[in-house]
């Protein structure tokens, strides 16, 4: 089980880098969807026997992160008629290099943290930290409102990966609450994105600048 899990985590890390280097908005949404679905499978692999809680979380996560949220984002993208490029603040190559550095840092950092014995064989902690950091890179270096939402989703994915360690300690209702909050958050955000688009006709956050300091 652990080896399958680690393989999936490596794929997640690779998707982070791919995301950082991709120039098309619709492609980045698909990549996030793939990442979300992969992460959704993981609750089934973390522990030897699959409990009801893990199963429910897994189904909910796959549905939300892999299907529903990407669908909402795609719709927002289509309705908003945004230019399809990502327009990063720094180039794609530098941001990929930053992402790689972040991954290396996460691996080094995680090896210093004390882990419970049953968790030492997983890549869960470094993968989670690296994904959170990639989310931050996406958030800070992209102009478009939608790309920032994608950054936020990647960040959330990273947090979710860490949550896998706790899947037995965290009660089901809390996990569900977290997912629900995420869903409603994205729902509200995609409505706002539409309004921004109508009001500003172009979808750049730096166009916002009317409010200084």
């Amino acid at each position: 089980m652990a080896s399958v899990l680690n393989m999936l985590l490596v794929v997640v890390l690779a998707l982070n880098l791919y995301l950082l280097g991709n120039s098309r908005l619709s492609a980045t949404i698909r990549i996030v969807a793939a990442q979300g679905a992969l992460i959704g499978v993981m609750p089934l692999l973390v522990h030897q026997q699959v409990g009801l809680a893990a199963f429910a979380v897994s189904v909910a996560a796959i549905l939300l992160k892999g299907v529903l949220i990407p669908w909402m984002l795609m719709r927002a993208l289509r309705e908003a008629q945004i230019k399809r490029e990502v327009e990063p603040l720094i180039g794609f190559l530098p941001s990929m290099i930053l992402g790689a550095l972040a991954t290396a840092f996460a691996l080094a950092f995680a090896s210093h943290l004390p882990l419970a014995r049953e968790h030492t064989s997983h890549l869960l902690v470094p993968a989670s930290v690296a994904t959170v950091l990639s989310g931050f890179i996406l958030l800070t270096t992209r102009y478009k409102a939608l790309s920032q939402v994608i950054g936020y989703l990647v960040l959330e994915n990273g947090v979710f990966i860490f949550g896998l360690l706790l899947i037995e300690a965290m009660p089901l209702i809390v996990e569900m609450g977290v997912l629900l909050d995420l869903f409603v958050g994205i729902f509200v955000i995609s409505i706002i994105v539409n309004h921004i688009n109508r009001a500003f006709s172009l979808q750049n956050t730096p166009r916002f600048g009317e409010q200084k300091d």
Partner: protein
């Protein structure tokens, strides 16, 4: 108490009349207030389930939330009547849900549940800020949603770290605060430190502490005044409550001194930022937003100083929250009289809207810590504790920033209230009315009362909270 506003929200959603719907808000607020009073009178009810427990600090914040909501609810009725052209069903529903979620934050005694509640407050208050549907309000809402969601995501990471700290120690913990407090000394230290820092940054974002405060000035100045009053007076304090709970766990480990450095640093930095930005401010609602940042800084500072300052800090939650209510509501009246937030236009508020102008001026004196108002007592007590605990540098800087903020805010407030209003604005139809002036007036009276004399039940409530927080195993 949590369900009541939700039921009313459903009712508000179902009610077709744009004119009568806002009256649901004051009705709910009175019922909520009565429930709070009833619950406080029957302490046995407060600890029945393990997830929802109203501990003493929670009670304090809950009282504040309920009082402020009541004031804003009455004010909102008039506000919505003046904005009758906007459909207000979404507004009313979100306003009521907002109350419900803030109540849930004060009740929740489970790490995960508290997180869910705090995030939910962000989501339901976003449409409230967006009520005006202008460019600036979209920008403010966007910043609010994104920045707060990211902050709260970090806080979730912090909560997970804290949970892992107990898992690592081999404890079968249920993640309720009671369990965490009991097991605190056994928690794994590196994870606990990391959890504290992440939670401070995460909930600090929501609370508006300085380096991560960027959403706050926009949101507070763009939101309708009753919403700003609630955001600033109640919501920020709910976020503070979250930090307070994490802090409590750190203290309970028996070596909580590591929390004091970051808290004092971030507190003073918030005050510095607020002081500096206040000087070049022309928009008086934005100025109030920076003043909120200052007061959150004071709370963080008080928490950082630790046990001797706790009484002052908890009292300051109440004082600053209520005074902020006065300021934002009276600022809203002034805004309606002039249709502008810029001090270039707004002059002579004392002549134009005498009561609101006077309230604004008195509110300013109170919030900057002039005697005989409440904030003076709490700030003085924090300062006293800072000297007592020999944090001389922090205390000196604290005094200096208070002075700086007094001057910066004073310049702007005097500009607004003094002088003669220009001819053009004389014609605007707004006059001080009962619904818009009585709520801030009553809040002001409360602030004055707290400055002169702390009622015995409140005193016991705060002392309970201090004792509760000081308990070390």
């Amino acid at each position: 108490m949590i369900l009541l506003p939700l039921v009313m929200a459903a009712l508000a959603f179902a009610l077709p009349s744009n004119r009568w719907r806002p009256w649901l808000l004051p009705v709910t607020s009175l019922a909520h207030g009565a429930l709070v009073a009833w619950a406080l009178a029957h302490p046995a009810l407060l600890t029945q389930s393990s997830w929802l427990v109203l501990d003493p600090p929670g009670r304090l914040v809950l009282v504040l939330v309920s009082v402020l909501f009541c004031a804003s609810a009455f004010y909102t009725v008039d506000y919505l009547r003046r904005r009758a052209e906007h459909p207000n069903s979404v507004f009313c529903v979100c306003f009521l849900t907002f109350l419900s979620m803030m109540t849930l934050v004060t009740w929740s005694h489970h790490l995960g549940l508290m997180w869910v509640a705090v995030e939910a407050t962000t989501l339901v208050s976003a449409p409230l800020i967006y009520f005006d549907r202008t460019h600036n309000s979209i920008e403010a809402t966007w910043k609010y949603l994104l920045v707060c969601s990211i902050g709260i995501a970090l806080a979730l990471m912090g909560s997970f770290f804290l949970a892992y700290a107990s898992l690592h120690a081999g404890l079968d913990s249920s993640l309720t605060f009671e369990n965490l407090l009991e097991n605190a000394p056994a928690l794994s230290r590196p994870w606990l430190y990391a959890a504290f820092v992440l939670s401070l940054v995460g909930y600090g974002t929501k609370m508006g502490l300085a380096p991560v405060h960027i959403w706050l000035p926009d949101a507070h100045s763009e939101a309708p005044s009753p919403v700003s009053a609630l955001l600033s007076g109640a919501l920020l304090n709910c976020a503070f409550l979250a930090i307070l709970r994490i802090y409590h766990i750190c203290i309970a480990t028996g070596e909580g001194t590591f929390t004091s450095g970051p808290l004092i640093g971030i507190g003073l930095f918030s005050m510095a930022v607020a002081g500096l930005f206040m000087f070049c401010q022309r928009d008086f609602k934005r100025m109030l937003a920076y003043s909120s940042i200052e007061h959150m800084g004071i709370l963080a500072l008080g928490l950082g100083i630790g046990a001797p300052a706790l009484f002052g800090t908890l009292l300051h939650i109440l004082n600053s929250g209520l005074t902020k209510g006065v300021l934002f509501l009276s600022a809203g009246n002034i805004y309606h009289a002039y249709h502008s937030k810029s001090t270039d236009v707004v002059r002579g508020a004392l002549r134009r809207v005498p009561l609101s102008g006077a309230l604004f001026l008195t509110g300013f004196l109170a919030i900057t810590g002039s005697p005989p108002f409440g904030p003076f007592i709490s700030e003085f007590s924090i300062l006293n504790a800072a000297f007592g605990a020999s944090h001389y540098w922090a205390a000196g800087l604290f005094l200096f920033f208070l002075f700086l903020i007094f001057i910066g805010m004073g310049i702007l407030v005097l500009k607004v209230v003094q002088g003669h209003p220009s001819e053009a604005v004389q014609s605007s139809s707004y006059r001080d009315g009962g619904l818009t002036c009585v709520p801030p007036l009553l809040l002001m009276a409360l602030v004055l009362l707290l400055g002169l004399y702390i009622p015995a039940p409140l005193d016991t409530l705060i002392r309970d909270a201090v004792n509760f927080l000081e308990v070390t195993p």
